[in-house]
């Protein structure tokens, strides 16, 4: 989620709290002042697949969680008291009756613009965009996308795409203009709206799509995670199926910035996290995207890679991480940063561990283990 420069580091934080969404429920991790000691609490929604949960930066006691339970239909839960009690959405995200489309799960949640209290956006699998204006109690489809004449061409069929279903993710709201939106879709690509979602246009120039007959199409790409640069909403970073990219607006051509990653590691991965105020600083977590896409840490040696120069160069950060035989990886929503100085960076693994660094990645340590497979990690700074 984008943070405006003003919002970042507004006040010294006393505690960092992480919301850990997993395949089997929701946990929280709360730090002491030094971010040295961490206390794990939970589970909530035990047995539910929680794809995403977050705290509302406009009203930090308000939390939202997107859940699906076994074979039951998907829903959204909301809390007004830091997750102590929850209410289910009265009308969860669902496609129009008669459209023939069915929401399998709500995958991504994004709080709306700072001036639009109670507004949230949700991205679903298969690809759909939904909006709530009442804090997540009721959700309406954004018809400008869901009913767009080109949507099927952009997205493909609902049965196509990633193994766990095609997804709409990375919903970004320009902190200067609530009508200026970006979305990412796997598959489909990155799209932009300048009219509050009434219309959309592809924004994929410069991004490779090596898996398609035309390697440079207008749409059909596979962005895994798209973020605003910290403090600069005119810059976007993208971890894609085919590399890492940067886009500086008003330009509309992405620059591939993963080319300087070590060849033995590659530039495939899922998550991407940004520094809250330094627009040149970002982190990725590479995975093995060779042959059949094992989706593990390359060589069983996990590492974060950081760039401090907008992707021109990268530095491996693996102090404290396992040196060998660690075959987990990190999903696209499962790496985030806090607003502290120095910035903390946190990620959750497919093997149920949470790793944290309180020195911008110079060293990591495991702050929780033995959890279910982690789908998302979000920071709520009190």
């Amino acid at each position: 989620m984008a943070r405006s420069p003003a919002a970042a580091r507004k006040a010294p934080a006393r505690q960092t709290r992480l919301l850990i969404s997993t395949r089997k429920g929701l946990w929280t991790l709360a730090s002491d002042v030094s971010r040295n000691g961490w206390t794990l609490a939970g589970p909530q929604f035990l047995g539910h697949t929680v794809h995403h949960a977050l705290a509302d930066p406009r009203a930090p006691r308000q939390w939202l969680a997107a859940a699906r339970t076994g074979h039951l239909g998907p829903t959204v839960f909301r809390s007004q008291d830091n997750g102590r009690t929850w209410k289910e959405a009265v009308r969860p995200p669902a496609f129009e009756r008669g459209s023939g489309r069915v929401v399998d799960h709500t995958f991504w949640l994004t709080p709306g613009h700072a001036d639009e209290a109670g507004v949230f956006y949700a991205g679903t699998s298969p690809q759909g965009l939904f909006r709530s204006t009442d804090g997540g109690a009721t959700w309406e489809g954004v018809d400008g996308f869901n009913a767009h004449a080109q949507r099927k061409a952009w997205c493909g069929g609902d049965q196509e795409g990633t193994p766990d279903g095609p997804k709409l993710h990375s919903i970004l709201i320009d902190p200067r203009d609530p009508r200026h939106l970006y979305i990412g879709m796997s598959g489909g690509g990155v799209f932009e709206s300048v009219d509050g979602g009434a219309d959309w246009r592809p924004l994929n120039r410069g991004v490779r799509a090596d898996f398609l007959p035309d390697p440079a199409p207008e749409f059909g790409h596979d962005p895994h995670c798209v973020r605003f640069a910290g403090g600069n909403p005119d810059r976007l970073y993208q971890q894609n199926h085919c590399g890492i990219y940067r886009l500086d607006r008003p330009g509309d051509t992405w620059q591939e910035i993963g080319v300087s990653m070590p060849k033995s590691v590659g530039s495939v991965g899922f998550p991407l996290a940004v520094h809250p105020t330094d627009a040149d600083s970002l982190w990725v977590f590479p995975m093995d995207g060779t042959t059949v896409w094992p989706r593990t840490s390359p060589g069983g040696r996990p590492a974060v890679y950081r760039s401090r120069d907008a992707g021109r160069s990268w530095k491996r950060q693996d102090v404290g991480l396992p040196r060998s035989q660690a075959w987990w990886t990190v999903k696209r929503q499962a790496m985030t940063t806090d607003l502290r100085d120095p910035t903390g960076i946190y990620f959750g693994t497919t093997s149920g561990e949470v790793w944290g660094s309180r020195d911008e990645g110079r060293s990591f340590r495991c702050i929780a283990r033995h959890l279910p497979q982690i789908y998302a990690v979000e920071c709520a700074t009190a």
Binding site: L72, G73, T75, A89, E96, G98, R101
Partner: protein, 105 residues
């Protein structure tokens, strides 16, 4: 039973609820009042589920999708007969049983 108006006459249908849905009902079996429009129009599965949702908001969407189809891996029985037809009638005294498959790891 003769209908006097759609809102005045109802029949009580018993519904057996699987454990994944008992966070809504708090019970393994519930009884819901289903409006009876006319003697020749018995309650339907869909009508019963609408009444269930009225009493326990949100439950229906967990087992029936937005296109009106019973979700995959959810089974409905009227008495001992399986059905996926929300228009299927429920005779007086019959029980609607909801079964949620518990497969996967």
């Amino acid at each position: 039973m003769t209908a006097q108006s759609s809102s005045e006459v109802a029949t009580i249908v018993r519904v057996r609820v699987p454990s994944p849905l008992r966070s809504y009902t708090g019970a393994a079996e519930i009884g819901v009042a289903v409006p009876v429009l006319a003697p020749e129009l018995p309650p339907t599965v869909g009508g019963v589920l609408a009444s269930v949702d009225g009493a326990y908001p949100g439950l229906r969407f967990r087992i029936v999708d937005e296109q009106g189809h019973v979700r995959p891996h959810i089974r409905l029985f009227v008495g001992n007969v399986a059905t996926r037809d929300l228009g299927a009638p429920i005779a007086s005294g019959e029980v609607l049983m909801i079964v949620a498959a518990l497969s996967g790891g």
